[in-house]
C-alpha cells in the first residue's frame, strides 16, 4: 500500500504536470535560458581578425609573435603595410587599423581599449610578447637560454589553510544572474501554487474529506513534497538543457567556475523552496478567497523580492557588502545571496555549509509552526483567519 504522503504527493504532481501553467511556464523558462546561453555566442564565429598596421619593418619572428599573441587572445591578425607613420595614424583614426606597430618597437592605438574586450586582450598580449622578445634580444641570450626562459613555469603556491579553499576563483557573474532569475521565478511560482492549492482545498471544503482520512501534517507534507518534486524536475530539466545547449554552442557561461555556481544555485533553490513552502502553506490555510490570497501574497513576497534585488545589485557591482554577506546567512534571503557569494568567489565551503545548516534548522522550526497554524486554521471558514487567532494556540 502506498503511503498517504506518497498518494498526496503523486496527486499534486499529476495535476501540476497536466496543467497548462506548468507547460507554458517551462517552455518560457527554457526559452529564456536558451537565449541567455546562445545570444552571447552569436558573434564568436564571425570575429574579424585584428588589423595591424606595420610602419617600417617587422621581422618574421616578431610577426609570428604577434600572431601567437592574437591567438592567445582568441582572435586573428591581418597585417597592413603602412608607408608612413602619419598614414598609419590616419588609418587608426578612420578605424581601418586596430593597432599600429612602428619600427617594431612602439605600439599605437586610437583610444585605450576597454579592459575586458578582445582588442584590449590582444593589445595587451602583443605588448607583452614583443616586450619579452626585445628583452631577450637585449640580453643576447643563446637559443637554449631563450627557450629555457620561454618555458618557465609558475612557482607552486602553498596555502596557510590548505583545507579551506574558495569555491570559485573568479566571478561567474552572468551565470549567477541567470541562476538568480530562475530561482526567483521558480520560488515565486511554486510557492504561489502551494498558497492557492491550500486555499482551494479549504474553499472547496474537500479538506474536510481529506482530513477525515489523513493527518494534517502528512497531508501538508505530501502537498509540499509533490510540488517540490515538480519544481526539482523542472529545474533539473532546465539545467540539463542549459548544459547540453552550452556545450553545443560553446558558451562561456557554463565553463570555468560556472558549473559550481550553477550547482550551488540548485542547492539553494531546493533549500529556499523547503523554507518558503511551509510559510506559504500556513498562509494558504488562513484564507479561502482569491482576493484574500492576493492581499496575503504581497507581504509574503517581500523577503523574496528584497533578496533578489540585493543579489542582482551585488552581481552587477561584483563586490559583496557586509549587509549582503549577512543576508547570505539568513534563510529568507540566503537562496539568492549565497549563490552570488559563490559566483563572486567570496565564500568557502565551510561558510557555504554553515549557511545551509542554518537554513535547514530554521526550516524545521518553520515547518512545525506552519503545520500547527495549518491544523488550526484550515477548518475555520467564513472569514479570513487572523494569524493571532491561531498562532497563540500553535505551540
Amino acid at each position: 500500500m502506498t503511503s498517504d504522503v506518497g498518494l498526496v504527493a503523486a496527486r499534486e504532481m499529476r495535476e501540476r504536470f497536466r496543467g497548462r501553467v506548468f507547460r507554458v511556464g517551462s517552455l518560457l523558462m527554457l526559452a529564456a535560458v536558451g537565449a541567455a546561453i546562445v545570444i552571447p555566442t552569436l558573434g564568436h564565429g564571425k570575429a574579424e581578425p585584428q588589423s595591424v598596421g606595420v610602419v617600417g619593418t617587422l621581422s618574421s619572428p616578431r610577426r609570428a609573435t604577434v600572431v601567437a599573441a592574437a591567438n592567445s587572445a582568441g582572435t586573428g591578425v591581418r597585417f597592413v603595410a603602412e608607408p608612413t607613420e602619419s598614414q598609419a595614424y590616419r588609418d587608426l583614426r578612420s578605424g581601418r587599423l586596430d593597432l599600429a606597430i612602428v619600427d617594431g618597437s612602439e605600439l599605437v592605438v586610437e583610444t585605450p581599449p576597454d579592459g575586458s574586450s578582445t582588442i584590449a586582450q590582444f593589445v595587451q598580449a602583443v605588448a607583452q610578447a614583443l616586450g619579452y622578445d626585445q628583452a631577450v634580444d637585449a640580453a643576447r641570450l643563446s637559443p637554449a637560454q631563450s627557450a629555457a626562459l620561454a618555458g618557465a613555469k609558475p612557482l607552486p603556491l602553498r596555502s596557510l589553510q590548505p583545507g579551506v579553499t574558495k569555491l570559485t576563483t573568479k566571478t561567474a557573474g552572468t551565470t549567477s544572474a541567470v541562476g538568480l532569475v530562475l530561482v526567483f521565478l521558480m520560488l515565486t511560482q511554486y510557492n504561489t501554487w502551494i498558497l492557492i492549492g491550500v486555499m482551494e482545498e479549504k474553499s472547496s471544503r474537500v479538506i474536510e474529506v481529506l482530513l477525515a482520512a489523513v493527518r494534517p501534517m502528512r497531508l501538508l507534507t505530501g502537498k509540499v513534497l509533490g510540488i517540490g518534486l515538480v519544481a526539482l524536475a523542472q529545474a533539473g530539466a532546465i539545467v540539463v538543457f542549459a548544459l547540453a545547449l552550452g556545450e553545443g554552442v560553446g558558451s562561456d557561461l557554463l565553463h570555468g567556475t560556472a558549473p559550481v555556481t550553477l550547482l550551488s544555485t540548485l542547492v539553494w533553490l531546493f533549500l529556499g523552496y523547503a523554507f518558503y513552502c511551509w510559510v506559504y502553506a500556513a498562509a494558504g490555510s488562513l484564507v479561502e478567497r482569491q482576493d484574500q490570497v492576493q492581499s496575503l501574497a504581497f507581504p509574503l513576497s517581500l523577503p523574496i523580492v528584497f533578496g533578489y534585488i540585493m543579489a542582482i545589485t551585488t552581481v552587477a557591482s561584483g563586490n559583496a557588502s557586509l549587509l549582503f554577506k549577512v543576508l547570505s546567512y539568513l534563510p529568507p534571503t540566503a537562496p539568492f545571496a549565497m549563490p552570488v557569494m559563490v559566483g563572486l568567489g567570496q565564500v568557502n565551503w565551510l561558510e557555504f555549509c554553515a549557511s545551509a545548516l542554518i537554513s535547514i534548522v530554521c526550516t524545521v522550526g518553520v515547518a512545525r509552526l506552519a503545520t500547527a497554524i495549518y491544523r488550526r486554521a484550515i477548518l475555520r471558514t467564513g472569514r479570513r483567519v487572523k494569524l493571532r487567532d491561531v498562532v497563540g494556540l500553535a505551540h
Binding site: 498518494l7 496527486r11 495535476e15 482545498e201 474537500v206 474536510e208 474529506v209 477525515a212 477548518l379 471558514t381
Partner: protein, 297 residues
C-alpha cells in the same frame, strides 16, 4: 454489532457552547436521523467523530474503543458543504479518496466504477466535478463517502437540494448500507424524508440531547392525534372551545387535533357532528415534525 458511541461531548467556541455534554449512540443495521434546528451543534458533532474539531471534553468511541486515525480510515464522511476537487476528474477523485482510505489502486478503481454505476452517474467517470449538475455532484459526493466500503457513514444533510428521484436513489443506498450492517448517521432538515428513511432519530438543541429513540416509539408516544374534517367548517371553529383538545394544524379543511389524556374521543366526535357532516375522523401517529416541534418546545 458495531456501535458508535458519543459520550459527554463538549465543545466551546469562546462564549458559545456548541456541544454541552452530548451523549448518544448509533447502532449498526439502521439509519439514524440526527435532527436539530440551525446552530444546534449537529455539524460540530459530526466533525468531532472525524477529529475535525477539538473537544473540550468527551469521547467518541467505536465498538467500545476511543476513535483514532486507524478507525477513521474505515469511516465515510459527507460534509454539509460538499468537498471535492472541482477540476479533478470524477473517477480519479474517487480512486484517490479510496486509496487514501487504504485501498489498492485496482480495488479503488473497481469500487469507483461500481458506486458511480449504482448511483446512476457511471457516464460521468471521466468528467470534471465542476461540470456536473448539483444533483450529480451530490451523488458523486456520496460515492466518495462509500467508495472504501465504510463501517460507519456520517452524512451531513445528504438530501439537501435533491429532486425526488435523487432523494429516492440516495435513500435506497443508505437503507441498503444499513441493512448490510453499516452504521448510518444522517442529519437533515427535511423531516418527512427522515421519517421515511430512518428507524431512529436523535434530536439535539443548543448542543444538548433533547430526545432520542425509534421513530415508531416516538410517533406512538404522547397524546393521541385525531384528524377530523367537517363539511362547511374549513377553519375547524367547532374545535376551538373544546376542553382538552388542541388544534395542532388546519389545512385544506382538515383539522389535526391533539387530544389530552382523559378526553373521550366520542365527545369530540359528537362536537364535530353538531357542527356539520363529518367526512373524516381518523386517529393518526405523531409525525416526526411534531415530535421535533414538541421536543424543542
Amino acid at each position: 454489532m458495531a456501535l458508535l458511541e458519543l459520550e459527554g461531548l463538549t465543545r466551546r467556541f469562546g462564549l458559545l457552547t456548541a456541544l454541552d455534554h452530548l451523549s448518544f449512540s448509533v447502532p449498526a443495521g439502521q439509519v439514524v436521523g440526527f435532527l436539530g434546528p440551525n446552530g444546534a451543534g449537529k455539524t460540530t458533532t459530526m466533525r468531532a467523530v472525524f477529529g475535525l474539531t477539538d473537544l473540550d471534553a468527551g469521547t467518541v468511541k467505536w465498538n467500545g474503543t476511543p476513535v483514532g486515525a486507524t478507525q477513521r480510515r474505515r469511516f465515510g464522511y459527507m460534509p454539509e458543504e460538499r468537498g471535492l476537487y472541482p477540476s479533478m476528474l470524477v473517477g480519479e477523485q474517487l480512486e484517490y479518496l479510496g486509496r487514501l482510505h487504504g485501498m489498492s489502486g485496482a480495488d479503488a478503481r473497481a469500487a469507483s466504477r461500481t458506486w458511480l454505476d449504482r448511483l446512476g452517474v457511471a457516464d460521468r467517470y471521466g468528467s470534471k466535478v465542476e461540470a456536473l449538475s448539483h444533483g450529480n455532484q451530490q451523488r458523486v459526493q456520496l460515492a466518495a463517502a462509500l467508495v472504501h466500503g465504510p463501517e460507519l457513514l456520517v452524512l451531513d444533510e445528504p438530501l439537501a437540494g435533491l429532486d425526488p428521484a435523487g432523494i429516492e436513489a440516495i435513500g435506497d443506498v443508505l437503507v441498503e448500507q444499513a441493512r448490510s450492517g453499516c452504521c448510518v448517521l444522517l442529519s437533515s432538515h427535511q423531516l418527512d424524508q427522515v421519517e421515511d428513511l430512518c428507524e431512529s432519530v436523535t434530536v439535539i438543541d443548543h448542543g444538548r440531547l433533547i430526545v432520542s429513540g425509534r421513530v415508531d416509539d416516538l410517533a406512538t408516544a404522547g397524546a393521541r392525534r385525531l384528524v377530523v374534517r367537517v363539511e362547511g367548517d374549513r377553519e375547524a371553529a367547532w374545535a376551538r372551545d373544546l376542553a382538552g383538545v388542541i388544534i395542532s394544524e388546519v389545512a385544506a379543511g382538515e383539522a389535526r387535533l391533539v387530544i389530552n389524556e382523559g378526553i373521550d374521543s366520542d365527545a369530540v366526535l359528537q362536537a364535530a357532528m353538531a357542527a356539520g357532516r363529518v367526512t373524516e375522523f381518523v386517529f393518526q401517529r405523531r409525525r416526526l415534525s411534531e415530535v421535533f416541534r414538541e421536543a424543542l418546545a
